[in-house]
Symmetry: C2
């Protein structure tokens, strides 16, 4: 199972410190997605969608940690109960707002990834596929909703200036 970079995500966020931890907290942060030429035919019909999933590689994530202290909690949690980037397969999924497509460039908003993030896939977002009513959201029910941006705790370049 080998991955191929199909594009690059450009965002205002050079390093983890201050980067939104989720699109829902990104306050419309703008970005662009450059899709490489061999793949642009696959973008047809995408512009009709208001939001899209970006699937990408956490290229600046540090080593795998199976227990982490997530941004929105004080305690340690199992990695798979969090969205932390230091995963066995460091794949991120983010639902961003699609503003426009100009040739192979997607203008998007609500980005929460670092500048230069390798793009792996794009999927359309549809509430009929992606929205489920749930009663239980585990530790997130007691999470600190004021903690909306990251620091460098999961970074491969801790303490470095961007």
């Amino acid at each position: 199972m080998r991955l191929e970079q199909i594009g690059t995500i450009r965002t205002p966020f050079a390093g983890p410190v201050g980067t939104p931890i989720q699109p829902a907290f990104a306050e419309e942060a703008p970005g662009t997605v450059e899709v490489f030429a061999p793949f642009t035919a696959g973008l047809a019909d995408l512009e009709g969608f208001e939001r899209i999933w970006l699937i990408y590689w956490f290229h600046k994530a540090g080593p795998v940690q199976l227990r982490v202290r997530p941004f929105m909690d004080e305690g340690e949690r199992g990695l798979f109960a969090t969205r932390a980037p230091c995963r066995p397969n460091p794949i991120g999924i983010s639902c961003v707002r699609l503003l426009a497509i100009e040739h192979n460039i997607l203008r998007v908003a609500d980005v929460d990834m670092l500048d230069g993030t390798p793009l792996l896939d794009i999927k359309p977002y549809a509430p009929c596929f992606d929205c489920f009513g749930v009663q239980r959201i585990g530790w997130l029910a007691q999470a600190d909703r004021g903690q909306t941006t990251a620091d460098d705790r999961f970074s491969s370049h801790k303490g470095e200036k961007p």
Copy 2:
């Protein structure tokens, strides 16, 4: 960017024909997820979540097609405007219901993947991260909602009996 299989998804679906095309159409279809021993520490705290994202490899997908005829439509669409499996990086995301965790085995429902699917990642599902109200869902607004199961059009083993 290399992937490591961290587990295996077991479902009632040996081949694509008749497999639900989305968890929302899976009518509670039951499955299990075996998480390999080196990764079980990461499952702590997951049981509090009613639904989880399974991130997996479409191991039976055929060659990449940048234009596809999706299950819910008659016409051809750009691949990235669909959830078809024949992708440059054949990564699937499915939000399934988590029923129980017994050691390294997750009992789940609403599965829409083939039996034996390699697991890449698990993430908690939370409406605050994953539910967005949208007005526009592209071609899906006119899609055939009666078409809820797959056939072998995207399979690497077309026409084969399971």
